[in-house]
């Protein structure tokens, strides 16, 4: 195991960087436990490869670069979970009718009486519930793009996906969200 080098002050890592790394992770994965684990793994990996730290960047920058790798690994892992029944809902027909709306999923006009103000706590809670109901890989991309408002290129780099990949996931996420909000809020 690598010893503490004079360059790195691993004993102070938790006090100095844990919150910063945790906040960075959670705005991307949106799960307390996962974010906490990613921070821990980042510190472990940092200790393990402390010899590679040349002091050219700050400790924090160096740790963030490790955390970014960990986030990509995590994203790949959930993205490639095979055999797991995908809970994704289909909205469009296949075959002869390819790309047309599936009859029972056609958007319906919304009731005028529903509350439309995001300052309303119940509306906010419903919105969160719908976002949380997305398949995890779509949820991550949707949040990064829409809630954290990252640039497309940045998300593609951070998750190692192509932009056409990203737009397909945003499309699926938003189509499902619209339906979820229609059923549970606007026309409930």
């Amino acid at each position: 195991m690598a010893q503490n080098t004079p360059l790195l002050q691993t004993d102070k890592w938790v006090d100095n960087y844990a919150d910063y790394l945790y906040n960075y992770a959670i705005t991307r994965v949106n799960n307390n436990e996962v974010a906490k684990d990613l921070v821990q793994e980042t510190f472990f990996a940092g200790i393990k490869s402390a010899d590679n730290f040349k002091g050219k960047s700050s400790e924090r920058t160096w740790l963030i670069s490790i955390l970014k790798r960990k986030i990509i690994d995590y994203y790949r892992k959930i993205n490639s979970k095979k055999g797991q029944a995908e809970v994704r809902m289909n909205f469009y027909n296949d075959g002869d009718q390819e790309g047309t709306w599936i009859e029972e999923r056609i958007p319906q006009p919304w009731s005028e009486s529903a509350n439309h103000n995001i300052e309303n706590d119940e509306l906010r809670a419903q919105l969160e519930e719908c976002i949380d109901g997305l398949p995890e890989k779509y949820g991550i991309v949707f949040r990064m793009k829409t809630i954290q408002e990252f640039e497309t290129e940045e998300i593609c780099n951070e998750l190692d996906i192509t932009s056409s990949n990203l737009w397909v996931m945003i499309h699926r996420a938003r189509t499902q969200l619209r339906k979820c909000m229609e059923d549970n809020w606007f026309n409930s």
Binding site: F43, G99, I118, H171
Partner: protein, 87 residues
């Protein structure tokens, strides 16, 4: 040429979703407009989607002001794990 210009609803709503972030190309937007002429469902989808974008923006604004932190117990736990890891 005309065949390529036509969109199905899946493609049209994909462009509509991309457009919510201002990232659809002029060409895509033109094809979307033409699709709307004969597809009332996708126009409705788009109106609702535009409205949802304003909701998401408000929500985003609220979320971005939150700084997430670990509590002291979690930090102490993490510290002891790191000490054990080094040992």
């Amino acid at each position: 040429m005309f065949g390529k210009f036509k969109l199905n609803c899946d493609e049209a709503t994909t462009i509509c979703n991309k457009n919510q972030y201002g990232e659809a190309t002029i060409w895509e937007k033109m094809r979307l407009m033409v699709h709307f002429i004969h597809c009332k469902v996708c126009s409705l989808y788009t109106r609702q989607n535009n409205f949802l974008t304003t909701l998401y923006k408000g929500y985003s604004h609220q979320c971005k002001n939150i700084k997430h932190t670990l509590d002291q117990t979690q930090k102490e736990d993490l510290k002891s794990k790191l000490r054990n890891y080094k040992a």
